[in-house]
Symmetry: C2
């Protein structure tokens, strides 16, 4: 992996000295931190007693109501052998069984390896990993408005994510490349993550064979490094989103992907996908209870399949408008669910996924920003370990916004500073500055300010803090317009990470073989 690949996507403009400086700065920033390790406390909304009550009720759901595992006799068989009580597709779990099985073998944290080892992330513990949004069929930007996403958009977002110092992970289905056939597009998505980035990424979950293709491509990419010499087991190089069909149902598609990944020692995020009021009760406690019960069952299944397999407890919980039934985001109830679920995951002892920069707004306006901030800040304070949907999310996930992406990346950058906490060193205490300056003077020129000039405050690349007059002279732009300039500039400046040409060729050959084997299909 030492020869830089020829970048056919890059413009022919010659880089200037300013470009070089910017590139150096970007590289420096991007290489500074592979993931966040928090230095501030968790925020929790429930007492020990409240959390125990929810755990008790979750066990009641598992014991009395049970979950359905549909169209997958193999999973049912595994669950039965693991101690569950099976009646047809209904599976009930004796009180405490799932927790016991999980705690006996599940890792509290694990490393997801990137093809660039400096980009590997540790998921769990005090760590937070930011990944872009996932799954939207549309994109939006100022030029095009809203339209179906294409593979070119997918590549663009992989590149923008690669360049974003505040995103640690390349994500998965950043947007659906609707111009490619459904049964083959996973190959191009996985390839794009490998080719245009060197950050860790996600595999396909839409069919078991696509999950298997993702594992194969990871094997090609990592070569002999795929197997951990210490354990003889595959390294975890993929993380994968397994959504529960809430309420209380697992379907064959997701179970199929779960089995492939669990057996290959790749990480699964088991996520009850809940719009409270539709897929769960309208209350915070009820939604958290059901989320926990659903997740416990899937997580236990993974440990039954492969004890010690890495996995993440996921929670995607928002609410609905009681008038229209439409999903709402950034409201207070989902934030309360998030705080509760993060604490419950810590008690269980598995990494936690939730949050992001969620919003219902169709455009990157004030509604989008309010809703996103009201999701991302709780995400960080609660202690989410793997943050999907950190950047780009619009319209309840239906649309991936180019400008929104840039805004969210900026907010994620601020979260790095927040999570670093308060510096109480002698320099942080700054008593020398206060002594130097004294009453009625200003601190701008003092030695302490000069010494801390570079690192003093988080610097937003897109916020406008100029005078009103300067802002007007600059065209009275809103944040959307400045973000538009930013992503276009970034794409023009993109330089790909190096990749071993032999690996690249092998990946392309694998994809060709798979694509030639079956006709295109949109199922």
């Amino acid at each position: 992996m030492s020869d830089p690949a020829v970048d056919t996507t890059r413009g022919s403009r010659r880089p200037s000295g300013r470009d070089a400086k910017r590139a150096a700065r970007t590289a420096r920033a991007a290489s500074t931190i592979a993931y966040i390790t928090r230095k501030i406390p968790y925020y929790e909304v429930l007492t020990e007693e409240g959390l125990a009550l929810i755990e008790h009720n979750a066990d009641t759901i598992l014991e009395e109501i049970g979950l359905e595992f549909r169209d997958d006799p193999e999973s049912i068989e595994v669950l039965k052998k693991g101690g569950a009580e099976v009646q047809g597709e209904r599976v009930r779990f004796p009180r405490g069984l799932c927790r016991h099985i999980i705690q006996a073998s599940a890792p509290r944290e694990f490393t997801q390896h990137a093809r660039n080892p400096a980009r590997s992330v540790v998921i769990g513990g005090k760590n937070t990993v930011f990944a872009p949004a996932y799954g939207s069929p549309f994109i939006r930007n100022i030029e095009d408005g809203r339209r179906y996403a294409r593979i070119e958009d997918f590549r663009n977002f992989v590149k923008l994510t690669y360049m974003a110092p505040s995103l640690h992970h390349s994500g998965g289905t950043i947007c659906e490349p609707v111009d490619l056939p459904v049964n083959k597009r996973h190959l191009d998505m996985v390839y794009s993550h490998i080719k245009y980035s060197d950050k860790p990424f996600m595999g396909s979950v839409t069919a078991p064979e696509r999950a298997a293709d993702s594992v194969e491509m990871a094997k090609i990419t990592f070569g002999p490094d795929f197997i951990d010499p210490a354990t003889g087991r595959p390294k975890t190089v993929l993380i994968n989103l397994i959504n529960v069909n809430s309420p209380m149902t697992y379907d064959a598609t997701m179970l199929g992907a779960l089995k492939v990944y669990a057996r290959a020692n790749q990480a699964c995020i088991v996520t009850p996908f809940i719009l409270a009021g539709a897929m769960s009760p309208v209350t915070v406690a009820g939604t958290a209870t059901q989320t926990l019960a659903e997740a416990l069952a899937g997580l236990a299944l993974i440990q039954m399949l492969n004890p010690g397999a890495p996995m993440v407890l996921g929670s995607f919980a928002s609410s609905i408008s009681m008038q229209s039934g439409a999903p709402t985001f950034g409201t207070p109830e989902p934030a309360l669910v998030l705080y509760a679920m993060a604490a419950l995951a810590r008690r269980l002892g598995v990494p936690f996924r939730s949050g992001g920069s969620l919003c219902a707004s169709k455009i990157a306006d004030a509604q989008a920003a309010f809703e996103s901030a009201q999701t991302l800040l709780p995400t960080c304070l609660a202690g989410v370990n793997f943050v999907l949907h950190t950047a780009g999310w619009l319209e309840g996930g239906l649309s991936m916004g180019y400008e929104k992406f840039v805004m969210d990346v900026d907010q994620a950058g601020m979260m790095h500073t927040l999570l670093a906490g308060v510096d109480l060193s002698e320099n942080g205490q700054a008593m020398s500055a206060i002594r130097d300056v004294g009453p009625g003077k200003h601190f701008l020129g003092c030695a302490h300010t000069q010494a801390n000039f570079e690192s003093a405050f988080y610097r937003s690349p897109i916020a406008d803090n100029n005078s009103y007059e300067q802002w007007e002279a600059d065209g009275a732009q809103d944040l959307n317009q400045r973000a538009n300039s930013s992503w276009k500039k970034q794409l023009a400046e993109y330089m790909p990470p190096p990749i071993d040409p032999a690996v690249d060729e092998a990946l392309l050959a694998f994809m060709k073989k798979k694509k030639d084997a079956v006709p295109d299909s949109n199922v």
Copy 2:
């Protein structure tokens, strides 16, 4: 105070049945809660040890560097008698003196009485009071863009605040009525708060005689109720913003107002106004330390003047752009200062003021929303007791936005739900709903959902959660446009609270006397 005054500001349109329903709903909502009592924990970023270190350093500032009290020999004399060491205008305080004096007599919480007793607020403890923004010379709305504020704008914002169920307090100089002379406009501002609202409000601080006028008008309004029969002292009916000229300087204007209010048993908010990097060190710990030292000195002065006088420790701390020196808002460092200061105020044992919906953005765009949310949510989690600038703030406080106001009121409403925490009652646990529905069904129609339909989730009156197609059919509006419709509709529907005509006449007579006594002046 039983006869409703004739409302000359109201349109002649006859109210419809729908209007009546809305009015009833508004009234119900507005009367539900006079202020918030939190049910969720505080969020703190520093340990006991860290907080003690900042307290120690603050005492070092007070002891070794001292503060300047400029052009006010009387205050200097009071401080000297209270135990401070005076050299000219420089005042130093023996270690621990300020804290000792404050803790000996300052109330941990106090009631600010409103002319409608149902609107009285308790400031301090677990309570949070939301007030609108304060002090901007400009207003902004979609129709006018940005222009100087007028008394009509001031009245509009008093009315909108009165109608906002999530704002508990009418505030003070919501915007500067620049069309009125500087030396008389305080009369019209105080009168507007009394006439067009019945929520508690703030007095003038721009000159001691204007503070005295504010107290006089309060006396007229409360009549014999102004004196608390239990104590023989005046009730606290005004709260007033005393800004420290950071770093480490009190000026005669603010000291003049402070003395008037402290002696009249009216509440002072002593607020170091700090843009870190200019008025304090560039670090979080340094800024918190200096804020604490400055506030301690002013708070101690108040207790020396009138032991037991109600007061609030204030912190207004933001940072600056290290490139331009311009103030920035909604960045992570001020949030860290806020969390630290809230904890320090609790340790001191006085109510705390900070936060709001601050932003640097000139317009109510995504930047404004991100920055405001990144201030308001920390404000609520930290446990701020009196929140100035909750609604309307734009452009670092230079502009009061009509549309921004509506957006911020909505966000403040969400904070009510957040601060109410998680309902763990049997209804909150919702196990009956989960049992009723079971795997694979939906919760929309179940008995539990129906029973909780009205109160289930916070309902934003301005967020758009409709389908993309519906949103397009509705004109593809952004939040700014929907907020514009909202404030115009509200002003059209405004109905004033009743006021005793004799009180109204007395207030008008007092104002006329004061206005006639001196010529207009803009100093």
